[in-house]
Amino acid sequence: MLLLSSVLMLSCEVEDGSNLNGPTTDTISEDLSRAELVQAMSGVLADMRTRLGTQVDVQAVAGREYWRFQSSDPRWTADLLTGTLDDNTFYTTVPYASRYGTVKDINLLLEGLTNSSADFTDTERAATRGFANTLKAHELLMVLNLQFQNGIRLDVSDPNNLGPFVGYDEALTAIFDMLTTAATDLSNGGADFPFTIPEGFDGFNTPTAFLEFNNALAARVEAYRGNYTSVLTLLGNSFMDMAGDLNAGAYFTFSLTGADVANPLFFALNSTGANARIAHPSFITDAEAGDTRVGKAVMRTASLTQSNLTGDHDVFIYDSNVAPVAVMRNEELILLAAEANHIADPVAAVAAIDVVRIAAGLPGYTGGTTPAELVTEILNQRRYSLFAEGGHRWIDLRRFNRLGDLPLDRSGDATFEQFPTPANENR
C-alpha cells in the first residue's frame, strides 16, 4: 500500500506556487525592460512621498514651528517636546525606514539597468543613472537630517550584508559626491529621459533641466557643509532666479485617485484634537509687523489645548488635500545665496534677503551686517519663508549651534539634536 501511495504521489506533480498579486523584486533587478523602467521610476517618485508628513511633522515639532496634536498618539506632545526619544517608535523608525525604502527602489532599478538586456542607449542609461542617483542623494540627505552625528549607512544594496555606518561629515561628503557623479551623468544624458516625469517636476523634465535641480540640491548640501563658494557656483547652475517666482521649483503632487495618496500635511481649519497642527504661538508673536508670511498660520475660531499646550492658530500652508508639497523652491535658493554670501559679500547677502523681505511685504533689511547679525536675520527669514515646509528650522538652528534659541513651553521640555539610530539597526 505504501508502494501504491508513493506511486500515486509521484505521478502527480504540484506546480510551484507563484505570487499572484504583483511583480517580485528580482524581476526588476535581474533584467529591467523599457516598460519596467517607466514603472520603477514612477514608483520611486511616488515612494518619496511615503510618510513625508511624519518626517516633516517630527522635524517641525522638534524645531517648535508647530505642535502636532493627535489625541490617539500623545507621543507627539511628549517625547518630541521633552527630548526623551525612543529608538523604536514611529517618529524614529517611520521616516528612516520610508526613505531607505525609496533608496531600495532606486538600488533595484539601478541594478536592473546594469543587468538590462533591453536596447537602452548609453545616453539613456546615463540619463537614468543621473536622475535616479540625484533622488537617492535626496533621500539619504533626508535620513541624515534626522540622524545627524549618529551617521547613516550608505551602502545598503545587500540586505544580508549592509555597509557600515559613517559619520555625519563623511555621509554629507558622500551625498555631495553622489550628486556630482549624477550631474556628470545628466550632462551626458541626451535630450530626453526614457521615462515619464510627473507634473511636479515639470520644469525639470529633460536631463539638462533636471541638472538645475541636481545643482540646487547640491547647493543645499554644500551649505550644510559650510562650503559657501561651492554653494554659489552650484546656485548659479541651478534654477535660482532672484527676480522670479519664489514658489518656482520641484514639487510632490498628490491626488485621491486609486493608489495615489493625499497630501499628508493638510488638515482642515479648526480641526479637533484628534489631529491638528497648531502653530507655535511664538511664530505669531515673534513676527515683524506686516509680514504676510504670518498668514501661513490661520486664527482658529477657538483655541485648542492638548497636554497643557494651548494654541490659537492652525498651520495652513496647503489649502487642500491634493495641494502639492515643495521638494525645493526658489525662495530657499535665494536664502541659500544670502547665507553663502553673508561673510564674503554682505551686500549681496542683504540683496538676497531683501528679495524675500519685500515679497513678504516687509521693508528692506536695515540691520547690522556683521556675520553674526546676518546669520540671525537669515535664520529669521528662513523661519518665516520655509515655515512648516520641511523641518528647516530645527536643522538650521542645529547648524549654527542655536537650538538653545528655541522656546520651551513646559517644565521638563527640552530640545534635542538628533534622533537615535533605530533599535532594529542592531548597531
Binding site: 505504501l2 501511495s5 508513493s6 500515486l8 502527480c12 506533480e13 504540484v14 506546480e15 510551484d16 506556487g17 505570487n19 499572484l20 498579486n21 504583483g22 517580485t24 523584486t25 526588476i28 520603477a40 514612477s42 520611486v44 517618485l45 511616488a46 515612494d47 493627535q70 489625541s71 490617539s72 498618539d73 500623545p74 507621543r75 525612543d86 523604536n88 517608535t89 514611529f90 528612516y96 531607505y100 531600495k104 527602489d105 538600488n107 547613516i152 540586505p159 510627473p198 511636479g200 510632490f252 491626488s255 485621491l256 485617485t257 486609486g258 493608489a259 495615489d260 482642515a268 480641526s271 479637533t272 484634537g273 484628534a274 489631529n275 483655541s303 488635500n321 532594529n424 539597526e425 542592531n426
Partner: protein, 990 residues
Amino acid sequence: MKKQTHFSRMRVLLLLLFFPVVLLAQETITGRVVIQGSGEPAPFVNIVEEGTNNGTATDIDGNFSITVNSLPTTLVVSALGFTEKSVPVQTAGDISIEIAESSEALEEVVVTGLATSVKRSNAANAVASVSSEELVGLTPPQTLDGALAGKFAGAQITRSSGAPGGGISVRLRGVTSVNGNAQPLYIVDGVYVNNNSIAAAGLNAVSGAASGGNASNQDNPSNRIADINPDDIESVEILKGASAAAIYGARAAAGVVIITTKKGKRGQTKISFNQDFGFNTLLNSLGQRNFTEARAEALGAGNGALFAAARDNGTLIDWEDEIYGEQGFISNTSVNISGGSDNTLFYAAFSNNEEDGIVDNTGYDRKSIRFNLDHEFMDKRAKLSISSNYIDSVSDRGFFNNDNTGTTIGVALSSTPPWAQLFPDANGNYPDNPFGSSNPLQTRDLITNREDVNRFIVGASLDYKVFENDKSNLKLILRGGVDYYELITTAIFPEILQFQKPSNGGLNGVTALGTTENKDANYSAFLVHNYTTDKDLNFRTQAGVTKLTFSRNTVRNITSDLVASQTNVDQGANVSVTQFRQEQEDQGFFVQEELNYQDKIIGTLGIRGDKSSNNGDANELFYYPKASAAVNFHNFDFWNVPYVSRFKIRAAYGEAGNFAPNGALFTAYTNSLIDGNVGIVVPVTLGDPDISPERQKELEVGFDASFLENRIGLEFSYYNKSVDDLILQANAEPSSGFTTRFENAGNLENRGVEIALNATIFQEDNFDWSSNLIFFKNTSEVTRLDVEPFSLGGFGEGLGTFRIEEGRSVTQIVGNDANGNLVVLGDAEPDFQMTWSNNLRYKDFTLSFLWHWKQGGDNVNLTSLLTDFGGTSPDFDDFDFDPAVANGDFRVAAFFAGNATPFVEDASYLRLREVGLYYNIPSSVLDKAFAGHVSNVKVGFSGNNLINIFDYNSYDPEVSNFGSNGLSSGVEVTPFPSSKRYLFHLAVGF
C-alpha cells in the same frame, strides 16, 4: 437526549443479522419492543430464537412477528446500544419486551486516523470531545467556537469583539506559531472548512488604524467558522497537538477540530421545533467619571460652566449607557426533521438565528439549511453519505477598536463628557462633536459595516467493503468535499458624518465594497484492512492519498468624495481598487498501522507525507511521523485493585506542520500612483524563497483511571510540544529598505498538564448529579532565536508589547518601567485555568451550569489611557497607583514618561459562563393534552456570562484589538464591549 444516543450507536455498528427463517410453521410470537424508561418503540431490534439461526427484526414501530419451532422457547433480543436480553416465552401470541440501554455499548469513539476511529478506552491520546449536549445544551451559543470555551482542557479561547457573530481565537495548548497560522484546522463531516478572518471592508481607509507603526489588521472581522450552526452538530473532537493530529500532516500544527453533524435515526420520522427568545446587555458597565466644575474646567476653558449648566438642567448624558446600553434582541428558531428506514437515513434542518448587539445597528443574522443523507446499498456493503449545508449570514459589526483619526465609536466616546450635546435636531441633523472628531451617535446611526456571506459546504463519502471473511476485511473509502463562499463586505461612511465633511478635512463620504470568493476543495481515497489472528491480535492497516486545493480572490473597491447620498462605488470622484489572490495545492499520502491485543495493549505507527505549492520547492515531500501506545491494565487478568475499575497508561508522539504565511516566499512590489503614472514600490517585508514549513513535535503521556464502577473518572496528561523552524517575521535593519523579513529563525516549546475529574455524584430515580472538573496549565519558552529579540503585537515598549526573546516565555509582555528600563511586565499565558460543569436532574427538571476560572494572564489595556486623555475615565480621580496622584494623571504621566507599567493588567476572571434550567413536561401530561401527537415538550431559561468576577479595569478581560491570529490577543483599545445573554426556550418534538 440519551434516548437519541443509543439510536445512533445502533446505526454505527450495524449488526443487524437477517437469517432465512426455516418455516417449520408451528408457533408465532408477535409483540412490540419498547425502550425501558421512555416506553418509546425500538425499531430494527434483532430477535433471534436462542440456539437457532431463526431470527427477525422489529419494524419501524417496534413490532415484530416470529415463528418458532416449539414452545416454550427463549428469544434473544439485541440491538446496538442496548443490553442483550433473553426473554422466555411460554405461549404464542402478543408479548411486550422492554430493553435497556447498555452503558458499555455507549462507549465513545475517537478519531485516530483519517478513515478510522477507536474506542476512547483504547485511545493513546487525551482527545477532547464535546457532545451536542455540552455544546448547546446549557444555553444556545452564538457561534461554534465560542461554545467550546471552558468545555475541554488545554484551550485558550478569546473573543476579539463583543459584536455578535464571531471573531474568536482558539489557541490549543499554547502558542504554536508566532507569525504563521495559529488557529486550528476545522473539518466538518470530512470537509476542510475555511476559517479565515478576511478584513475586506476597508475600514482602515477611514480609521487609519494601521497607518501608524502597526500594520496588522484592526478591523475585527468575524472568522468564518461562525457560519456553522452549532445546533446541527452531533459532536466535536479536538486534537490539540501533533501527537494526535500528525495524520493531518502539514496543516495540523495548531490542532484539528473535527466536527460531526447530526444524522437521521432509524425509525419514525421525527420533527423537532425549537424557539429561543432573549436579550443581551452590557456585561460590565464602567460608569462615569464623577465630574465637578473644577474637573470639567480642566478639560478646557468654559467646560466647568457647561457642566454646571447641564447638571442644573438635568441634561447630563451617560454616554456609555446611551451607546452600549441597548438590550439586543435574540431569536433562534430551528426546525429539524429526521428519520430513516433500514438502509437510508436523513436529517434535514433549517435554522434562523438573529441577535442584535448592545449597540444600535449592530447584529448578526444567520440562516442555515442542512440536509444529510446516508444510504446503504449492495447488501449494505456500500454506504454513501452526503452532508450539505447552505448558510447565509449577515453581520453588522459597527465601527470600533483602534484608530488614528478619532473616528471609531469607542475612541470618540473616550473624549466625550456628559455635558456634550450630540443628539440630532428634529430634522435629523447631528451636531458636530466639539470634544472629538466624530459624533459617536451619528457614526452609530449612519454608518454601515456589514459582512454578508453566502456559503455552500458539501461533502460526500463512499465506503465500500471490498471483501470480508472471519479473519479480515478490506474497506475502500472515497471522500470529497467543497467549501465555497462569497463574502461581501460593505462599508459606507456617508458624507454628512462629522469626519467626512470636507470642512472638517473629511473625504466627503467613503463607500467600500469588498468581494471575496473562496473555494477550498479536498479529495481523498483510503484503504483500510483489518486482520485478526487466532489469538485475538488485531491489525488494522490503512493507507491513503489526499489532495487539497485552496483558492481565494478578494477585490475591494473604495470610493471617496461621493455623489450626494449615493453609495454605489461608481458614485464618487475617487475610486481605488485592490485585489488579492491566493492559490494553493497540497498533496499528501499517509500510512498507518494499528495493533490491538485483546483491548489490553494498543499501539499505532503512522507516517504522513505532504507537499505543497506553498513551499519553496513544491514537490519536496515533508514527512510527519507518529507513534503511540496505550495499555489497559484493567483488562489483564492480574488486575484486581479494589475500587479501581479502569486504569490505562498511554503515550503518544507525533509531528505536524504549519505552512509559511502568505507572502513569506516572495518579495512582491506593491502599486503606486503619482500624477496618473502607475509605479511599483518595494514592500515593507522581505520574503525568503527558501523558507520551510514550521514543524511541531509533541509528546503526550498520561493515564486514565476510573473508580467505583466508573462513577469517578480521572484523566491526567502531560505534554511537551516544541515547534522547530519557527517562521518569524523578524525585524530587518530598516536601512535595507525593509522593516521586516521572513525567516526560519527559532524554536519554541510548550509544556503543560491537563487534569480532568468527572464524577456521578448521585444517581437515583428522581435525582442525578454529575460533575466535571477540569484543570489545565501551559508554560512556553522560546528555546532558540537566531535573530535579535523583537517586539510585536502591541504599540511599542512605552505601552506594553509582546517580545520574542530566547529563554523567555513566548507570550511575555514587556515594557519600559518608571526608570526607562525594558522589563517583563506580564505574560498573556494564564497561570492556570479551571472549569467546573455540573448537571443536576430532579424529576423532570434539569439544571446545568459551567464555571470558568482563568487565573493570571495579562492584557495590555489602553482603553483607560485613551479615556484619561479625554478626561472621562470613571476611575480618573481614584488613587490606586499612588496615594498622591489620581489614576488619570498617573497614567497620563506614565505615558509621557514612556512607562508602560500601568497599562499591563492582570486579566484573571471567574465567570459563570453558561447556566440553563429546563423542565421536561412529563409524557403522561403530553399524552393527555395532545393525544400522542406531541412526544416531548421542554421549556427553560438560560444565560451566558451572568456572573463575572474580575479586577480588570475595563469591560471584559477577554478581548483582542488585533483579531484572532498569532500572539496578538489580549491587547485592548476601545473594543466593542462584551455582553451577557438571557434566554427563554421552548422545544417541541413530534
